[in-house]
C-alpha cells in the first residue's frame, strides 16, 4: 500500500492508497526505475552477495554510486549494512536502510487560509509542470487553487503556466516579462484573499543556485510573501530533476540557505535515472522528499513513499 494524497495532505481519516491504486503506483514507479538496463544491485546478483567478500562490497558501492547516491551517503549505507553483521537478503536489507535514512513519510502543509506554496529550483527541472499537476491534485482534494506566474524571466513561461492552470481548473495571476516577481507574488496573495482561494502556488524562474543576485531576488519574494501574510510561504518546494548528479546536493544546500526549503520534489523519475541524489539530500541536509514526478500526465505527480521508493530503487 502506497502513500496517498490524503495522507500527504494530512487529511483526517486518510488511508493509504487502496491496493489497486497503490499497486499501480508501485508498479509505475518500479516500471520506470527498471527501465534502466539494470537494477541497482543487478550486477552483483543480490542473492549471491557474500559479506565476507571485499569485492562484493566494492561492487555494492559501485552500484550505489551508479545510482547517483554519492560517495558519502554510499559510505554511510555500506557502513550501516556492515554493522548489521548478517546481511541476509541484500535487496531487502539495502531497501530497509534506505527507508530508514528517509525517516517518517512527510506531509505537505496546506491547512492555512490561504496557504502559500513557493516553488523554486534550477532551470529545466520541471517547476511549471509540477505546479500544474499539483494544482490539479489539490483541486481534486477540495482545495480552491490559485497559481501565480512569478517567472518573469524565461520567454513564454507565463503562457506555459496559464495552459496548466486551465487544465487544472485553477485561477491564474499573470505577469509581464521582466516584471518584479515579488510584486507578482504579492498580487497573488491579494487576489487569493479577495476571492477566498485557499491555496496559492507561486512559480518562480529557474535559476542556478550560484547566481547570487537571482538568489537574492528569490529571498525578496519570500520576504514579501512573509510580510503580506503571516507564516507565508508555508511550504517552499525545491524541484530537483532525477537525472541530476551530485550537484543536486549543492542546489538543496544553497536554495535552503536562501529561502528555507521545506521539501523536495523529485521529477522525471520515469526516465532511467533513479534520483539517487535524494539520498544525500536527506542524509546530509535532512530535507525530505515530498513529491515525485513519474510522467507527463496530470496524474503523474505522486506523494513520496520512502519504503516504496527504496524498494523500487534497489530491486528495479
Amino acid at each position: 500500500m502506497a502513500r496517498s494524497w490524503g495522507e500527504l495532505l494530512g487529511e483526517s481519516g486518510a488511508a493509504p492508497e487502496p491496493d489497486e491504486q497503490g499497486g499501480r503506483l508501485f508498479t509505475r514507479l518500479r516500471d520506470s526505475l527498471s527501465k534502466s538496463r539494470r537494477a541497482l544491485t543487478g550486477e552483483l546478483s543480490a542473492a549471491a552477495f557474500d559479506p565476507g567478500n571485499e569485492l562484493d562490497w566494492e561492487r555494492l558501492e559501485e552500484a550505489l554510486i551508479a545510482g547517483d547516491v554519492g560517495v558519502r551517503a554510499t559510505a554511510e549505507l555500506v557502513r550501516r549494512l556492515e554493522a548489521r553483521g548478517e546481511v541476509g537478503d541484500l535487496n531487502a536489507a539495502l531497501a530497509g536502510e534506505v527507508t530508514e535514512l528517509f525517516g517518517e513519510p512527510p506531509t505537505l502543509d496546506v491547512r492555512h487560509g490561504p496557504t502559500v506554496l513557493l516553488v523554486v529550483g534550477v532551470n529545466g527541472t520541471g517547476k511549471t509542470t509540477t505546479i500544474g499537476k499539483l494544482a490539479a491534485k489539490l483541486a481534486e482534494h477540495g482545495h480552491s487553487v490559485l497559481v501565480a506566474a512569478a517567472d518573469t524571466y524565461r520567454a513564454a513561461a507565463e503562457e506555459q503556466l496559464e495552459i496548466w492552470a486551465q487544465r487544472a481548473g485553477a485561477d491564474f495571476v499573470g505577469s509581464e516579462r521582466g516584471g518584479d516577481p515579488a510584486a507578482v507574488a504579492y498580487d497573488a496573495v491579494e487576489a487569493a484573499t479577495a476571492r477566498g482561494r485557499d491555496v496559492v502556488i507561486v512559480d518562480t524562474a529557474g535559476r542556478l543556485h550560484t547566481q547570487t543576485n537571482l538568489m537574492e531576488e528569490l529571498a525578496k519574494v519570500r520576504r514579501v510573501l512573509a510580510g503580506r501574510l503571516e507564516g507565508a510561504p508555508h511550504e517552499t518546494l525545491l524541484v530537483v530533476d532525477a537525472t541530476t548528479g551530485q550537484n543536486g546536493l549543492e542546489q538543496a544546500r544553497l536554495f535552503g540557505e536562501a529561502v528555507g526549503v521545506t521539501g523536495v520534489v523529485l521529477t522525471k523519475l520515469d526516465g532511467s535515472a533513479k534520483g539517487g541524489v535524494a539520498i544525500p539530500i536527506v542524509y546530509e541536509l535532512g530535507l525530505p522528499v515530498k513529491l515525485v514526478g513519474v510522467g507527463e500526465g496530470i496524474d503523474d505527480l505522486r506523494p513520496f513513499d520512502p519504503a516504496d521508493y527504496a524498494r523500487a530503487l534497489v530491486s528495479g
Binding site: V71, N123, R154
Partner: protein, 467 residues
C-alpha cells in the same frame, strides 16, 4: 569537497620527495583520491575505472624526483589525460555546400535545447551567417512561443506551425529557410526521455526527414551517472555528431561531459555558461578538465611559477632553504619571485579553495608587503645573511630606517625563524602542515607590478607555443 584534490594528493604523496619514481602503494593511495574526486564530479563509475587505470600507468612511469610536490605532478598528469580525453575530435560544426546547413538539437526535457538553439543562432549570426530557427517542439506547452520570443530578440526568423507534426514542421521549416535565403536552419526538437520509445521513434523520423548536417545532443552539465545511458541511447537512434554542454554557469563539475565523450567518442562542441543569449562558446577542453577536477586554476599557477622563476635560481634557493639556511636575502628573493607571478591577490585566487575566502579582502594588504620589503632593505647585508645578530639596538635602527615600528620588525624576524624551521623540516622529509600561511600573514608576497605580470604571461605563452 574536492576543491582540495591537489591538497589530498599532496598528503597522499607528500612523503615521496626524493624517492624518484612513485611507488605502487603511494600511487594507489593517490589514485583512490582521484577516483573519489571524479565520482563526486559525476563522472560515470565505469569511465572512472578506465581513466584511473590509464593515469596510474603513467604516474608509475613518470619521474617525479625533481618535484618538491609529487601531488602536483600527479594532478598535472591527471589534468593532461583529462584534457586529452575531452579534447579529441573535431569541435567545429560542418557546413553544407548546398545551403541551408541544418543543425538539429535533441536531448532530455529541461536540458536547455530551446535556449541553446537561440544562443547558437546568435553565435552563428555574429560569425557572419544568416541563421533561422525552426520550432519542432510541439509537445511542451508554449515552447513555440518561447522560441518565437527569443527569435524576435535576436532578429532571427522563426518558422513554426502549431498544428503541424514534427516531421512536417521540420520539412516546411527547412523549405522556408531555403526560400528566404537563410544559410543555416537550427531545428529545435521536443525534449524527450531516452526510454520513451514512441518519442524516440518520432525523433528518428524527424532526423530522417531533415538529414541534418549536424546533429547535436544537448546535455545539462548537472547530469549524473545516467548521462551515459542517455547518450548511448540517443547515439543509437540519431547518431549525434557532438554535444552542447549547458548550464555551466553553475557549480556543477560537469563530469557527465567526460562520461559522454568516453562512451560515445563524440566531441563536445559548444558550452553554455549563462542565461544571456551571448553565453554560448566553442568548447575548451583544458578549462573543462580543471573544472572537473575542481582545481581552481592550479595549472595556471604552476605555469606562472615556472615562468617566473629561473630554474637555476630556484634550485639554488631550494637547496639552501632546505638546509634551514633561510637568510633575509633568500627571503627577499623568494618574495621577489612571488611578485613576478603577478599581483598577490590574483595569485591567491588561483589556489583552489582560497578564492571564496578572499572575497571582501580586496587588497590583501599590499602595504604590509611593501613594509616587509622596506624592513629587509633597511638591514645591512651582513644582518640579512646572519639574522640572529639582530639585537634590540639593531632592531631600533631598522625600524627607524624603514619607517616601521619595533613590533613590526620583531614580527618579521619571528616569521623568518619559523620559515627556516619549517624548511629544515621539509628538507628532512618531515613536512608539517603549513601554519600561518593564511592570506595577510606578513610573510611574503608580491606587489602589483603589471609589467612583470605581462612579462611572465608572455613567457608562458611562448612556452606553450613551443610545445
Amino acid at each position: 569537497m574536492f576543491d582540495a584534490l591537489t591538497e589530498k594528493l599532496q598528503s597522499a604523496l607528500g612523503d615521496l620527495r626524493g624517492r624518484g619514481i612513485l611507488d605502487e602503494e603511494a600511487v594507489s593511495r593517490a589514485m583512490r583520491e582521484v577516483r573519489l574526486a571524479l565520482l563526486e564530479a559525476d563522472v560515470n563509475f565505469g569511465v572512472v575505472k578506465d581513466f584511473v587505470a590509464q593515469v596510474r600507468e603513467r604516474a608509475l612511469g613518470e619521474d617525479v624526483r625533481k618535484s618538491l610536490t609529487p601531488g602536483q605532478q600527479v594532478v598535472k598528469i591527471v589534468h593532461e589525460e583529462l584534457t586529452e580525453l575531452l579534447g579529441g575530435g573535431d569541435s567545429r560544426l560542418s557546413f553544407s555546400q548546398r545551403p541551408p546547413t541544418t543543425i538539429l538539437l535533441a536531448g532530455l526535457q529541461g536540458s536547455g535545447k530551446t535556449t541553446a538553439a537561440a544562443k547558437l543562432a546568435r553565435l552563428l549570426r555574429d560569425e557572419g551567417k544568416r541563421p533561422a530557427l525552426v520550432a519542432a517542439d510541439l509537445q511542451r506547452p508554449a515552447a513555440i512561443d518561447q522560441l518565437v520570443q527569443l527569435g524576435a530578440e535576436l532578429d532571427v526568423p522563426v518558422y513554426a506551425d502549431e498544428r503541424s507534426d514534427p516531421v512536417k514542421a521540420v520539412r516546411d521549416g527547412i523549405e522556408r529557410a531555403k526560400a528566404d535565403g537563410r544559410d543555416v536552419a537550427i531545428l529545435d526538437t521536443a525534449g524527450r526521455l531516452h526510454v520513451d520509445e514512441p518519442l524516440m521513434d518520432e525523433l528518428a523520423a524527424v532526423c530522417d526527414e531533415a538529414k541534418p548536417t549536424n546533429v547535436l545532443l544537448v546535455l545539462d552539465a548537472m547530469t549524473g551517472q545516467e548521462a551515459v545511458n542517455v547518450a548511448q541511447t540517443f547515439q543509437e537512434r540519431i547518431d549525434f555528431d557532438g554535444v552542447v554542454l549547458t548550464k555551466l554557469d553553475g557549480d556543477a563539475r560537469g563530469g557527465a561531459a567526460l562520461s559522454v565523450r568516453a562512451v560515445t567518442g563524440r566531441p563536445i562542441k559548444l558550452a553554455s555558461a549563462g542565461e544571456k543569449l551571448d553565453a554560448l562558446e566553442w568548447f575548451h577542453p583544458d578549462r573543462m578538465a580543471s573544472r572537473i577536477l575542481g582545481m581552481g586554476d592550479v595549472l595556471t599557477l604552476i605555469e606562472r611559477a615556472e615562468a617566473a622563476i629561473e630554474s637555476d635560481e630556484k634550485e639554488e634557493l631550494e637547496k639552501r632553504m632546505l638546509k634551514g639556511e633561510c637568510s633575509f636575502d633568500d627571503f627577499l628573493s623568494s618574495y621577489k619571485m612571488l611578485r613576478r607571478m603577478g599581483p598577490l591577490q590574483g595569485v591567491l585566487k588561483l589556489i583552489p579553495g582560497l578564492g571564496k575566502q578572499l572575497e571582501g579582502l580586496d587588497d590583501v594588504d599590499e602595504r604590509q608587503l611593501k613594509r616587509v620589503e622596506a624592513i629587509i632593505l633597511s638591514m645591512t647585508p651582513h644582518e640579512r645573511r646572519v639574522p640572529h645578530l639582530i639585537d634590540m639596538s639593531r632592531r631600533k635602527r631598522i625600524a627607524a630606517g624603514s619607517g616601521t615600528t619595533l613590533e613590526q620588525v620583531g614580527q618579521l624576524l619571528e616569521t623568518r625563524k619559523q620559515m627556516a624551521k619549517m624548511m629544515k623540516l621539509a628538507g628532512s622529509g618531515k613536512m608539517p602542515s603549513l601554519p600561518g600561511m593564511a592570506p595577510g600573514a606578513p610573510t611574503m608576497g608580491g606587489g602589483p607590478r603589471p609589467s612583470a605580470t605581462r612579462k611572465a604571461s608572455s613567457k608562458r605563452k611562448k612556452k606553450k607555443a613551443k610545445r
